[in-house]
Amino acid sequence: MQARTRNRVVFLILRRMRVPLLVLIGVYAISVLGLVLLPGIDAEGRPYRLDFFHAFYIVTYTITTIGYGEIPYTFSVAQRLWMVFSIYLGVIGWVYALGALIALARDPAFRQVLVAGRFATGVRRLREPFYIVCGYGDTGSLVVHDMDEHGLHAVVLDIDPDRISELTLEDLSIFVPGLCADAGQPDNLLAAGLKLPLCAGIVALTSNDAVNLKVAITAKLLNPGLRVICRADTHDTEANMRSFGTDAVINPFEAFAKHLAMAVHSPDLYLLYSWLTQTPGQPLPLRYQPPRGTWLLCGYGRFGKAVQRHLNFEGVETVIIENEPEMTKAPKGTIHGRGTEAVTLREAHIDKAVGIVAGTDDDANNLSIIVTARSLNPNLFQVARQNARENDALFEAARLDLVMQRSRIISNRILSRISTPLLTQFLREARHQSNDWVSELVDRLWRLASNRTPDLWTVELTPDGAPAVHAALSGNREVRLGTLQNDARGREQRLNCLALLLKRGEELRLLPDDNLALAPGDRILMCGRPGVVNQMQWALVNASALCYLQTGEWRAEGTLWRWLTDR
């Protein structure tokens, strides 16, 4: 592909250069020939003729406007007449040729080819595993941004040139190549490195279901080992994608609604989700207690429907307010209206409701609903859906109980799948646990994290991931999980971390016990304060540190020291 692009550039240049080059050759040929044919007069007054070499020499310096003068003898009138003609011809020829070259360099088609070539080279220069992100909208840009924060490489495709220029302006610490191209074209995906060995996966987030589907099937056919994460707006597409083994399909409305229902129904589980999936280092969202009772739900579009279904499934009663009940096929009892006027809200018995979800697809309306509702019933639990990221400041100023930002939620879900695959499994398990279990875990995390989103990392007991531990286990020495969680600078001190999940083969253990004996090949999902991951590294990598943690003694490392201590 890269070679093809480069070839295209060369051919384009050559093709466009034809006429200017022909003009130049013609100008030179005519000028030289004329100079050779016209008779001159030498110093003694005898007629002579210039040879081809000297004629070419004179023409070369004259029509490039350098002008060394008349050699070898002063020109005759006929020669001078010819020179006047050649100079005008030559200068015009050169101006035309240079103009054509510059026009070529500014030609949009040519620039497009150059940009594509540079993009393909940029992708091939990546030396670490990377993900292809198709679609750089609200969610796509968040995903790329978060990947950057996690130190993961990305390659971006988007059909909108404005978004690609946005990407180049973005303040990212890692170079992210971006190309303005249709992700639905397999050629473009190949240019983005779909078949490169370093390509770890592809994330299709365009707003067009057909394109996402095309991306998924292309990826699965051309590179079956790839992780494919796709957005699907309809259940049809979702089922279609799953049918050929797409690793994760995310329906934004569904995922978002599920999240919201979880926030209303099981706040602790919701907190666990948001704490663990947020970008590390951010302030933790506080615990809250959503009231039980009837909720008002404004907007019955795709999102509203999903929310209502999930809330009803959790046993929460809802009153729907919708502006176009016929078009959206709203159920009986729906209040007609936008929800921004007090009349509509009163009609929906806002005085008896305990909470309100402003879930229309218009941010201004959502804010207006909340403000109106608040003046009617100040005790309401207020939840708003935020559609566009640029309205961050507004929603923050409105001081809502919960703001659900779609792109944020989707991006967090995708990122947890990319950066810590074990986390997805952990959260899936956690959903099936009792409320008490979750609530206790949230308590522990709260004490552990000290108001910052905890770091998450995976410890792999492999020769690469944890050489010291792996060597000890292979030597039939026992290593307990708790040992790894003590501080190598003083083993009485426990590191601020918690083992969330241990995966041994296909077996999963939630919150494994400190006394658990580890086995080679185990994968452990840890969470802890930022920086703790580096301290834990001691026990994993350094055999002496591990020995100290187990026995409390620093074993002599070198041969000489060992000999000295043995004496």
């Binding site: 466009r16 034809r18 040879d51």
Partner: protein
Amino acid sequence: MNIEKVIFSFFIVLALTLNFGFFLGDIDNPAHHNVYELYAAIVVNLIATVLKFGERTQIGAVLLATSLVADLQLIAAALFWTIATQTTGGGLTPATMAGIVALSGGALLANVISVVLLIVDIATLRR
């Protein structure tokens, strides 16, 4: 009839005929080889080369290559001529002339290949 094809073929064939005209005659006899013919052969060869630019087919690439070879050989012949007559002062001895004509003979071969390829291309196109 495609006027572009006419011009294209015209220059390729003209490059061959001029080259052949210069090559014709006793190899070491300066009287048999005209300097103007060499000049014309170089100019027409250069034009033919530029006309072959930007052809994306396989045959177009080979055509361009043969033309570049012919250019190289003819320009080498011209340089040889210039150096012999301008610097060493020996003039056109039979030995130099033989060298120049031999170089143009090489170019002739490249031009023959070029024309053969052109005919092959046209023949396959007709079918």
